[in-house]
Amino acid sequence: MRIRYLIRFEKKGCLKFIGHLDLIKLMQRCVKLSGIDIDYSKGFNPRQLVSVALPLSVGTEGFSEYAVFEMKSEINERDICERVNAVMPEGLSITGCRSMPETEKNPASLIRAAEYTINLPYAEELDKYTAEILKSSTLKLEKPVKYKKGRGNKVYGSGLTETIDIRSGIYDIKPCGERCVNMLIAQGSADNLKPELVIKCLCAKMNIDYIPHKNTYVRKELYKQGENGSFISLFS
């Protein structure tokens, strides 16, 4: 019988600059400092059973991210929040915690969609272009292509590109203010779309340069499949 807790947390401020692997290590360290009774993997190299559901790109803030803590013994949900929050650095904090029934799958395999809010300081007429995207059935993009050594495929940085169609990964997109766009896109183990690609397309449509560091990205929520094709928050 596993004792698992689903943890909802935020990662913002300067913490948005640490990568996925560093985040996991940091969480493990905070768990250790808090003293909660976390469980370890078996075998030669025991690791804390702390996992983070879906990586967040460096530079993107996450307001509703998810992790799983597997414990040796049961613990009050409030205790986890208080004790771990007390030792977390500024920018990282647990905002919710609930126990996971034995039958519940790991969040990493359940995630189907993510909601992003992105600031685009040089955007114009966002309502027009977002509506255009939703109306069309395709949205094509040139992507540089990767190499797999030894099997003779294509090369990164060779100038070679391939055309991909990302429309099917965009569930919804609309403006949320003059220079801000909100989108619901496919993310998770089944179908994964990076929000940067959508923004690239949008910039192309608006005929403005795509300058990555000028845009700020926030991932607002992660979703799993609910009833009747709807999406519900991972926390429910």
């Binding site: 990568g19 692997l21 560093d22 768990v31 030669f44 804390q48 530079g59 030792v87 990555p212 560091h213």
Partner: protein
């Protein structure tokens, strides 16, 4: 000003510049009298692994009147953006520009970091030469091992701190605080500081040169300033300050563990080793002190590994007792022990069984020289028998990886010594096959493969060692010897790697350089030299151009010195006598070894003038703890 998000999104590893680590010190800048900037002249990931920084950071911050903040060298991409946008170097803790601090203290760990030091000054808008800095600039100071030959930076740094930080930093800050109240000018403040033990203020020493460019005299130019500056150190490490918390970075750094310092100094007296001479006398911490410190650090950092560090961990008097206590106390909490520099004997094989991290580490030997003759010359007391029996024991307990460290270019080196490197590796492989065979015969079904990693560094003679007069091999010599050894190593499971001889040339010029070398380093910086300790960044052609444009001849600094030369570091007293160094040098040439100083005192001079025998006292304390 703290760096903006937009800029951070344009650089590699932006987390290098955000600070906010667990246990970072936060103070109200309005309420402190002294702003001290600790500057580590290398990348964040390297500096954050440095134990000295952790100690000094918390040592200074324990003072209510002082706020110590950190600076690291911005990476190449960040430097480019800073210059484009006109941004100045600022502290991690509060984003305060370096120029607004009272002190900027650099730690000199490695000669190849000097261009980073210059770069950090330049990015702060601070002139290089101390003569060009008026009252409005911070006092620039520097310490660390390379400060034992401070001369290449003597025209740049206002004062050097020779020795261990815990010894005199409090007094220096107290004196400074009082003098500032009296509104003394910087020169006068430096003059008063020069009277304190361990403080070297270069402006009060004049260097004159002969016609042949050698130093003719080093003379004090103001009364009251000491002729020689003596190194300071903490006498009792058990009562000395040691932080109970350590900074925990948010990203992966070179070492992600609690660093526990067992003792300072080393009893072995290997003749090439700078550290072995400048950290005397040996001072151990008691096992109880260490277990307590480990406890506090684990509690405050959440690390899952403790690393026991010292110059020669196996020589720690209570090594067995300590490791057993630590394993007993911490393994149930899933905390590993990391034990670098382990001597291979029955006890360490026991450890291999019980400590997982020891098991996976593989075995490391540092014979340094390929033949017993040369090992005796350098006084590295490791015999072939030690190595082979140790390897055999290790292979039998299941270790499959061996690392061997050597140096090329040691004094009196001959072809037979180089050949010995390849021969020793061969013998070790034979031990492995023997152990594997025996294992098979007694039922071990595993298919075992061994990997031997041999690496050779380039020997650079250092100040305050018996080899400080020796000739350093030229770049061409290093290449020739490396290729020779490479040609002799034929087996696929022995990998041979060698360090770049070009870096060694620059390191050698600076390590035994004098004041005239500063222009050379500045020129290299002007031409774009940065992060010279990083193989992928180091650009030798920049340094070659710097030689040309400044007229500095490398052979003048790396060549052999006459025994009655006035060396550029003559006025810095590391604590060991010149007579002792000369005796050791003589013994080296006669292929005579010197016993470790626990079994027989070799009169290095560290105890003189103190009226009390520190070495003996430390030894008896350690032995008491054993009982």
């Amino acid at each position: 000003m703290i760096i903006s998000d937009e800029i951070l999104l344009r650089v590699e590893k932006p987390a290098r510049y955000i600070g906010n680590e667990i246990n970072m010190v936060r103070k109200d800048t309005e309420k402190v009298n002294i702003r001290f900037g600790f500057c580590f002249p290398d990348a964040y990931e390297v500096g954050m692994s440095h134990l000295g920084m952790q100690i000094i950071y918390y040592f200074l911050n324990r003072r209510e009147d002082t706020y110590c903040e950190r600076f690291f060298a911005p990476w190449l991409d960040m430097e480019r953006i800073m210059r484009e946008e006109g941004l100045k170097l600022s502290s991690l803790e509060t984003g305060t520009p370096a120029n607004e601090f009272d002190f900027l203290g650099f730690t000199l760990q490695y000669e190849m970091s000097y261009t980073n030091l210059l770069n950090m000054l330049n990015l702060s808008g601070i002139p290089f030469y101390s003569a060009n800095r008026g009252e409005e600039y911070p006092i620039i100071c520097a310490g660390g091992p390379c400060a034992l030959n401070p001369e290449p930076l003597a025209d740049i740094v206002d004062f050097f701190y020779i020795g261990e930080g815990e010894a005199m930093l409090d007094e220096i800050l107290n004196v400074y605080k009082n003098l500032r109240v009296e509104k003394l000018k910087k020169t006068e403040i430096l003059y008063e500081l020069s009277k304190l033990a361990g403080v070297y203020v270069p402006m009060f020493y004049d260097i004159s040169y002969n016609e042949d460019a050698r130093i003719s005299e080093i003379k004090v130019n103001r009364e009251g300033v000491p002729e020689r500056v003596r190194r300071v150190y903490v006498e009792d490490l058990n009562s000395a300050f040691f932080p109970s918390i350590q900074l925990v970075p948010l990203i992966e750094t070179v070492h992600d563990r609690v660093t526990l310092e067992l003792f300072r100094g080393c009893i072995r007296g290997c003749r090439f080793c700078h550290a072995g001479y400048i950290y005397r006398p040996v001072r151990e911490k008691l096992p109880d002190t260490l277990v307590n410190q480990a406890n506090e650090l684990i509690k405050s950092t959440g690390h899952e590994e403790i690393s026991l560090v010292s110059l020669s961990t196996s020589d720690y008097t209570c090594f067995k007792e300590l490791t057993l206590s630590l394993v007993e106390r911490f393994s149930k909490d899933n905390i590993n022990l990391s034990l670098p520099s382990l001597r291979v004997d029955a006890f360490s094989m026991e450890l291999v069984e019980s400590v997982q991290s020891v098991r996976t580490a593989g075995l490391t030997f540092a014979p340094e020289a390929g033949s017993q003759r040369l090992r005796d010359v350098i006084n590295k007391g490791l015999t072939e028998e030690d190595i082979l029996s140790g390897a055999s024991m290790a292979f039998k307990s299941g270790i499959d990886r061996v690392k061997l460290y050597f140096m090329i270019g040691l004094p009196t080196e001959q072809e037979s010594d180089l050949k010995g490197i390849a021969e020793l590796s061969e013998k070790i492989i034979k031990e492995f096959y023997k152990a594997a065979e025996e294992g098979k015969a007694s039922g071990d079904k595993r298919h075992r493969a061994v990997s031997i990693n041999v690496s050779s560094a380039c020997f650079v003679p250092k100040a305050h060692t018996p080899f400080q007069w020796e000739r350093q091999d030229a770049y061409g010599d290093f290449i020739e010897k490396q290729q020779y050894v490479k040609g002799l190593i034929k087996r696929k499971n022995i990998r041979y790697a060698y360090h770049d001889g070009k870096t060694a040339v620059i390191e050698g010029v600076i390590a035994r350089g004098d004041r005239r070398v500063s222009a050379f380093i500045i020129k290299a910086w002007e031409l774009g030299a940065r992060f010279d300790g990083w193989g992928e960044v180091f650009n030798f052609s920049i340094w070659e151009k710097a030689f040309e444009e400044t007229g500095i001849k490398p052979e003048f600094y790396t060549g052999a010195k006459s025994l009655d030369d006035i060396l550029p570091w003559e006025h810095i007293d590391a604590g060991v006598s010149k007579q002792f160094l000369l005796r050791e040098r003589e013994k080296a040439y006669n292929v005579e070894t010197t016993a470790n100083c626990r079994s027989a005192c070799s009169n290095c001079g560290i105890n003189k003038e103190r009226g009390k025998d520190i070495c003996a006292r430390n030894l008896s304390n350690a032995r008491e703890a054993l009982k």
